[in-house]
């Protein structure tokens, strides 16, 4: 079937973002002021967000691509993530001495991949989006090319990521072999019509999908890459990776598992429940013994993937909307925490050790106060957004009948208070060790203002986003 111009109209945001990324790549060649490229990127992403909102919902390209509330909500998270990342990067890249324009176009290409993942309704389209996202992120993880840790991060991420892509492809191949189609809806209808739901080959392909997406969202036992990659990558990219690709993984997971594998829902839920428990356990328990704050937040990010999986397990519009809500809130609080970490980084001082936060409240009360808010939110203490997010997730899981799972999640959530509040304890109850100077800048300040406002506003008025998420699923 030939594509029509109505199809092209549905991907205008994607086309615009591609052109923008190419434009930034060309600007890199002519302009000396690299931060200017970043600002153009932000303006472009804002325009892309506007274009996304005015795009007509519907299917396009022979049912391979869809614009609906679900995809738009996730795209909103991606835009927020990329804007915040650019804001916190501008000063940081100069400090690290890698002030290159390619950084911004790579970030935009990664975001483009995420958008395609959220909108794909065909396994091959989802795979294309995933690869575009992953390849750009591998390069970004190794962006500090003169630093060995960064190279290690990129190499580990690349090798394990390539493996997980292979798993995804193998799953797609098996599904195609069984059903003769890669379209999500057609797979589900073929499975119900021909009664192959109990076929072991189909179950195997389901396992392959769980492994591949489990890798992208850093769920245990597929989380091995996350600590090393998060620690070694540039801090701004760690913030970007811990929100964007994770949310994109959940977006694609939600589509594949509910649309294509809907007929065998009980089977995959039975596999994902132990994965969710293991993910929460590994993330929260190993985070306790970390002394590097980036590494600690990497394990925390693993644990949060475990919480978000509860929404997927609960299912239905309530479960999915609580998962989407949580991922948006997570974007605010996690990027905020990384923005504070970036503030501590300056020439000749890493500021990644938890000890470096000793007595921060005495010297820089504002920075310590912001970190306090983000740590409270990551723990899930009201009135921050983290509490609201967890509340909706746990509620949806209880309503779906997974009370035992929620009890486990609450216990692990209580354990997580130890390592989040330890930072707060260091900041407020220890004497300052060395002179810590902050490297602030206007864009970083804006990013911090946005994130702290997001965390507090969504914590006090939680209904805004959850209603938006629910409406996007129904409408």
């Amino acid at each position: 079937m030939q594509s029509s111009y109505a199809d092209v109209a549905r991907i205008i945001p994607e086309i615009f973002l591609t052109s923008l990324a190419l434009l930034l790549l060309m600007m890199e060649l002519v302009t000396k002021k690299k931060e200017f490229i970043g600002f153009i990127g932000i303006i472009g992403v804002v325009i892309t967000a506007y274009l996304t909102l005015i795009t007509n919902p519907g299917r396009a390209f022979s049912d391979m691509f869809i614009v609906d509330g679900y995809s738009n909500f996730f795209k909103l998270i991606f835009y927020l993530n990329v804007i915040l990342t650019i804001l916190i990067s501008i000063r940081y890249l100069k400090i690290e001495g890698v002030n290159l324009g390619e950084y911004y176009s790579l970030i935009l290409f990664a975001t483009l991949g995420m958008m395609i993942m959220a909108s794909g309704t065909d396994l091959i389209v989802i795979y294309l989006g995933l690869e575009l996202m992953a390849l750009s992120t591998y390069v970004l993880a190794g962006f500090l090319r003169h630093e060995i840790r960064s190279n290690e991060a990129a190499l580990k991420y690349f090798l394990l990521g390539a493996f997980s892509s292979a798993f995804l492809l193998y799953g797609i191949a098996l599904t195609y072999g069984m059903t003769g189609t890669t379209n999500l809806k057609d797979i589900a209808s073929y499975v119900t019509q021909h009664g192959i739901a109990k076929n072991p080959v189909f179950t195997l392909s389901m396992i392959m999908f769980i492994i591949a997406f489990g890798f992208k969202i850093a769920a245990a036992p597929f989380h091995m890459w996350a600590p090393d990659t998060y620690e070694g990558a540039p801090t701004s990219i760690t913030a970007f990776m811990s929100v964007g690709p994770k949310a994109a993984g959940f977006a694609a997971m939600g589509r594949v598992f509910f649309d294509a594998l809907g007929p065998i829902r009980l089977d995959w839920v039975a596999v994902i429940i132990p994965i969710a428990i293991l993910t929460m356990a590994v993330g929260n328990i190993i985070a306790i013994s970390q002394t590097n704050i980036k590494r600690m937040l990497a394990y925390s990010s693993i644990a949060h993937a475990g919480y978000a999986l509860l929404g997927l397990i609960a299912g239905g519009s309530e479960g999915l909307s609580s998962m989407m809500n949580y991922l948006l809130i997570y974007a605010f609080m996690n990027v905020g925490a990384f923005a504070v970490i970036i503030m501590l980084r300056r020439e000749g001082f890493k500021g990644e050790d938890i000890d470096d936060y000793s007595g921060l409240a005495k010297r820089h009360p504002l920075a310590a106060g912001l970190m306090l808010v983000f740590m409270f939110s990551l723990t899930g203490i009201p009135p921050t957004a983290g509490f609201v997010g967890k509340f909706y997730l746990f509620m949806s899981a209880i309503r779906a009948g997974y009370t035992g799972l929620v009890i486990v999640a609450v216990i692990f959530s209580a354990i997580s208070a130890y390592f989040y509040l330890r930072i707060v304890m260091y900041m407020y109850m220890r004497e300052p060790k060395a002179e810590v100077e902050l490297s602030t800048s206007a864009p970083l300040g804006i990013a911090l203002a946005i994130t702290v406002a997001g965390v507090l506003i969504l914590g006090v008025f939680p209904s805004i986003v959850i209603h938006l998420a629910k409406a996007s699923l129904l409408g």
Partner: protein
Amino acid sequence: MPGKYIPSDYLPILIFLMVATAVGLGVLIAGSIFRLKRPYPEKLMPYESGNLPVGEPRYRFSVRFYIIAMLFVVFDVEAVFLYPWAVVFGSIGFYAFVEMMVFIVILVVGYVYAWKKEAFNWD
């Protein structure tokens, strides 16, 4: 039918694989039985009348070769896509022209980037 999926269409491939394995092994075994065995040092060298194999088989290449290889792949793929496009161009028409121009423009951006970054310079 649950659990009764038999890919019978692939049976010829299985037979072919078995025949290929049998022929390959059979020729080797038959050769080892019937051929004359008169080994001498020159004959046992990896390349008869070639260079003497000295040194490590793995040595480091200049990183520039990788850039050349990468650029080659990009433009090779472009050429591969251009061929089928040219074949069906007549039946699709203007839409195909626009699509291919989009594809080429994206590659040209990469080309200009590589050029300006002096990826084509050997030194």
